[in-house]
């Protein structure tokens, strides 16, 4: 178990009032939380919690086999009920994001599957899912081109920008944007926005999220170190 950047509520309040700042809610993770899987990770961002498991590279179904690279399969399971189109879209984004991160050509004719179970959505759910999936892949030691870090940000009515918003903030925001960056050149891998905004706001959010992504990468590192220390 690793837990970092613990902020008191008071500190959080102060941060929210301050000019836009690259902050995250408290991040907690547990790598290898499940033992039978090749890789697993449970990640909390504030109260948003997601569990991700990764399998692979493993046998692939004939119909989905690709001769030049690995087949990346992602299943996103919502907290209740069957997956609906809105969940399919999420699943699609996560899969495409992971596909570009995974070194697919290293494992032709095999499957790498990631199953993501939403346990609690209290804001920035998509970002949390992608981060958890990346951790699970790291835990499974699947070859990656780069790591990915997702950060959400919200544009409030008064123009203020909040990173890693909670559900309540998201609901009040005029626009919510989720960015995914890679760890090598910090280029943009994915982006999903919701709501109307200006070009300028887009740029501010993007830069802020990119900055915040650095702490996510740092967190990945620490989580792994913790795990390695434990196993050694």
């Amino acid at each position: 178990m690793a837990s970092f950047i613990v902020l008191t509520e008071e500190q959080q309040r102060l941060q929210r009032e301050a000019p836009p700042e690259a902050v995250l809610r408290c991040l907690t993770s547990e790598l290898g939380c499940l033992t039978r899987q090749d890789g697993s990770a449970s990640l909390s961002q504030g109260d948003t919690t997601v569990t991700a498991v990764a399998y692979g590279p493993a046998e692939v179904r004939m119909a989905r086999e690709r001769i030049d690279r690995a087949t990346v399969e992602v299943v996103y399971k919502p907290k209740v009920g069957l997956p609906r189109p809105v969940d399919r879209k999420k699943e699609n984004i996560i899969r495409n994001t992971l596909e570009s991160a995974i070194m697919g050509s290293a494992h032709p004719r095999s499957a790498i599957s990631v199953i993501i179970q939403e346990t609690e959505d209290l804001g920035s759910n998509l970002a949390c899912c992608i981060n958890a999936a990346c951790l699970a892949l790291l835990d499974a030691a699947v070859g990656l081109n780069f790591m990915v870090a997702a950060v959400a940000s919200a544009v409030m009515e008064d123009g203020k920008i909040v990173t890693d918003p909670e559900k309540k903030v998201e609901e009040k925001a005029v626009a919510v944007m989720t960015f995914v960056f890679e760890s090598v050149d910090h280029k943009l891998v994915s982006v999903l926005t919701y709501g109307k905004f200006t070009q300028e706001q887009y740029k501010v959010c993007r830069d802020l999220c990119r900055q915040t992504a650095q702490s996510v990468f740092a967190f990945y590192r620490e989580s792994l170190e913790k795990k390695l220390l434990k196993t050694v």
């Binding site: 069957l82 997956p83 609906r84 189109p85």
Partner: protein, 273 residues
């Protein structure tokens, strides 16, 4: 019915606004005086046909009979998907669909019983024309979607599919021509609209009334499908079969010309490249 989790869902129940206004009950007796669109009883609607409308399909066609509009695509011959479908003779499949917005009342996304029935009837009409023994182990898929339903959809679907099959270069004994007629007592009206169909099939109707559709292969003088609905006097039905076959004969050149035009265009396209 379980909710469809693969589509965007609306409210659990909703009603058509047309349920809340007096519907003009279509009395078939009115047909005896004058048809709603002013046609003669034996007059068919103008036929607009075009082949090769879908770039991805092996063959395709679009048909318009005034307000009845349908589009058809043909894929294959291609490998059969399921192994148990394997057969030495080729296999023809037909799927007949209405667009959800094709009628005054909205249709569901899932294929309904009427659509299934029409799919089967279309298959019956086309199968005798296609030289399936030339396509062993393979499958030819015909998909028809009615974009707007204003009567005689089965004939429209068959005409469109027949043209699409021909434009796909599928070997056939003959083109299949289909035509419909509505009957009321001694009156036979060719190529009915949806209102006329409803009038002769309505449950309030008394006397002999109904619908007939015949699919016909003019060159070899064979009927490939025949289907009727409603309660019809035997002699009327017998007589109408003749009339409809004659109507099919009239439509034959239209299909032939469309096909010739399509092939000419294709040839031009190739030579210009």
């Amino acid at each position: 019915m379980p909710t469809d989790t693969r589509r965007i869902q609306g409210p659990e129940t909703s009603n058509s606004p047309y349920d809340f206004c007096p519907t003009a009950t279509s009395d078939p007796a009115l047909l005896e005086k004058q048809r709603l669109d002013g046609r003669d009883s034996a007059q068919m609607r103008p036929l607009f046909l075009r082949a090769g409308v879908i770039s991805q399909a092996r063959g395709s066609a679009y048909i318009e009979m005034n307000q009845t509009k349908a589009i058809c695509a043909v894929y294959g011959p291609r490998e059969v998907q399921r192994r148990e479908d394997f057969s030495l003779k080729g296999q023809l499949t037909c799927q007949f669909r209405f667009a959800t917005f094709a009628s005054q009342h909205r249709r569901q996304h899932q294929q309904g019983n009427q659509e299934k029935d029409l799919s089967v009837q279309m298959l019956e009409a086309l199968e005798p024309a296609v030289c399936l023994h030339k396509y062993p182990k393979s499958q030819i898929n015909v998909y028809v979607t009615v974009l707007q339903h204003d009567g005689s959809v089965l004939s429209a679907g068959i005409l469109c599919a027949s043209l699409a099959l021909a434009s796909a270069g599928v070997e056939m004994y003959d083109l299949v021509i289909a035509s419909s007629a509505a009957m009321y007592n001694d009156l036979t009206i060719s190529d009915p609209t949806v209102q006329e169909e409803q009038a002769v099939l309505s449950r309030v109707g008394k006397g002999s009334s109904g619908m007939l559709t015949v699919a016909f292969m003019p060159s070899i003088n064979q009927v490939s499908a025949i289907t009727s609905d409603g309660g019809i006097q035997f002699d009327t039905l017998n007589k109408t079969v003749r009339t409809v076959i004659d109507n099919c004969q009239k439509l034959y050149p239209v299909l032939q010309q469309t096909l010739v035009k399509h092939i000419e265009e294709k040839k031009k396209g190739i030579s210009s490249k």
